[in-house]
């Protein structure tokens, strides 16, 4: 294959500046929200003693899952030796880093005591899955940085394949760790399942690739030049379909497993059939808008010769991903803990009641600012360093 030349992101027509300003405004609003919540306490959010992880966690987990999946394009080129993906490998690594940074920022800023970050980074309980994840996240960042260096430094390309292997293995372990944060919790019937790890891995492929496609589209607009050749669009299309079907399959397994066990049919009714907000988010948000609509757009043959764009299906899949995490995480907490299986319980502490949750503006701003942090990092790095292939035929 011809040598690939890379370039920085040139600012044409002011689109790049517009994007940077837009994201800066969102991040500033998010930081304002953090200050507000830290000053008054979490009482100004919709969270409480039952829904302890709200919208910021939905965004944080979504971004962290997406980060590991964003590395996929690089992995395919290095690990599975597919040279057609190679021009996008650098961008893929960069997105993995920036999405992870965005997700972790939201996670940390939503802590009750974000000022104790140093304690979180120096005092560990090694039995905690959370503590494992702190190592997995920082390790991932270090490995991807070395991987990018191997890809970008002169005469270092020979190391990019072994680094690609390490990064690929690490990202699988990382997403397993993220899934296990939920899967290992026996108290929460909605998500206490070993399938959470593979479900999150499959989801990461969808979110990560969808983010990559959205960013490639934005970059193409900024450069006023198409980035993806038709062959790559076809390959990305196939991958999106495959990964989305894998997510559906594992989602069905998660629910079927619970439905089969009589003790867990109530929680399944709650999550899927009760008509409450969580079942609506699942069926309308995740399944209809976030899965079936993009699948239809990806699968149904086009009548015109117009170039197929993956932008809309990707945006819908990202929306579906947020809906998936929202329904699972918030719905899983809203469903009351079963202290006495088979009995009706009540108390002054909302025992036996479905907990209500309405996210407030600060939570929304903090959550969205995670995406903007990721976009800002990607944008600025692309502007300064050669992360993009020169042209469509690269």
């Amino acid at each position: 294959m011809a040598r690939i030349t890379y370039t920085t992101l040139k600012n044409r027509a002011g689109f790049f500046d517009l994007m940077i300003i837009f994201n800066l405004v969102i991040v500033a609003a998010g930081m304002g929200a953090v200050w507000y919540v830290e000053h008054y306490g979490h009482i100004v959010t919709g969270m409480g003693n039952k829904i302890v992880w709200g919208l910021p966690h939905v965004f944080a987990i979504f971004l962290i899952i997406a980060a590991s999946g964003a590395l996929n394009v690089a992995s395919i080129s290095s690990v599975f030796s597919k040279p057609e993906y190679k021009p996008y490998a650098r961008l893929s690594g960069l997105l993995a880093l920036s999405l992870l940074a965005g997700g972790l920022a939201v996670l940390v800023l939503d802590l009750g005591r974000p000022d104790r970050l140093l304690i979180a980074m120096t005092t560990y309980n090694f039995k905690s899955i959370f503590a494992w994840n702190i190592y997995l996240y920082t390790g991932f960042m270090a490995i991807v940085i070395v991987y990018l260096w191997a890809m970008m430094a002169r005469n270092m390309d020979k190391y990019s394949k072994p680094m690609g292997f390490i990064a690929f293995a690490w990202r699988l372990i990382l997403t397993t760790g993220t899934g296990s944060i939920f899967g290992f919790i026996v108290a929460r019937e909605a998500f206490n399942s070993a399938v959470m790890a593979p479900l999150f891995i499959a989801s990461s492929f969808v979110y990560g690739l969808a983010f990559t496609i959205v960013v490639l589209n934005l970059v193409a607009r900024a450069r006023q030049r198409e980035l993806m050749p038709d062959i790559l669009i076809e390959k990305f299309r196939g991958l999106l379909i495959t990964f989305t079907v894998a997510v559906i399959f594992l989602t069905i397994i998660l629910h079927i497993t619970n439905l089969y066990a009589s003790g867990r049919q109530d929680v399944e009714w709650f999550m899927l059939a009760s008509g409450n907000i969580y079942s609506q988010v699942f069926w309308i948000g995740q399944i209809a808008i976030g899965t079936l609509a993009p699948l239809a757009l990806l699968i149904i043959p086009r009548k015109t010769d117009k170039r197929r764009t993956l932008l809309l299906p990707s945006l819908l899949l990202l929306f579906g991903g947020l809906a998936q995490i929202y329904a699972l995480l918030i719905g899983g907490q809203a469903y009351p803990l079963d202290l006495f299986p088979g009995m009706e319980i009540s108390s002054s502490f909302q025992d036996g009641e479905v907990a209500s949750y309405i996210p407030t503006l600060p939570e929304i701003l903090l959550g969205i600012s995670g995406i903007s942090i990721a976009m800002l990092i990607s944008g600025i790095v692309m502007r300064l360093m050669p992360f993009l292939p020169k042209g469509e035929s690269a």
Binding site: H42, G48, G112, A131, F340, G342, D351
Partner: protein
Amino acid sequence: MTCTSGSKEFIDKSRRDFLKKAGAGVTTFTLASGVTLMAYPQAQKRPLDEPVSAKNRWGLLIDVNKCTPECDACVTACASENGWKQGGDPRVDAQWIRKLTVKNPKSGYESSFPVMCQHCENPPCVDVCPTGASFKRLDGIVLVDKHTCIGCRYCMIACPYNARSFIHEPLTDQRPWAPRGKGTVESCTLCVHRVDRGDEPACVEKCATDGNGALMFGDLNDPDSEISIRVATYATKQIRADLGLNPGVRYENL
């Protein structure tokens, strides 16, 4: 009462208690060993200058038959002892102990009894805490180290008993012996400050005087303690025993 004066009172009282008990120890040593058992309350198992040890496993036994639905002496005592407010907004206000009403939907039979941190032998909150702020003392009391809690709330996700609360807003007038602060998680401490000085938890004490004597505190590791004898003699239950957490809180007639 300011925090400083409260601390001083607390220290002075601890000092007095220590001297009192040290003196009592000498007295009982010179008397017969049988007198020692009579002289000490249930919790007094170690001198204050000795570390906590796994010889003890502090626990509670709650007799559901004695507990009446209208009585909340234990809840009031806990709130007053540890400085959390009762009757606030259940969404955001802390409740270290609450009265739970359990109804059998088939028969309609109802019972009411207190539920608090169950002080598990294998506490999931301790397992999941990233910094080790959630910890279990050797004597089985599960606590939160308020200096290392980062407020991640993972313990609240993991606890199967709804036992923990998050502090959602700034607090004032905390009790010196029950540190609490915005942005951290908390739960029943089994009145560790009282247990360490040889007293019973506030809920147990108040249930005996103002309630129906439904709560018993003691050392589950000591086969001669009243609680152990009772647990060995009558059928008792643990909430969600199927989870294998072995809570230190047992229920009789449940």
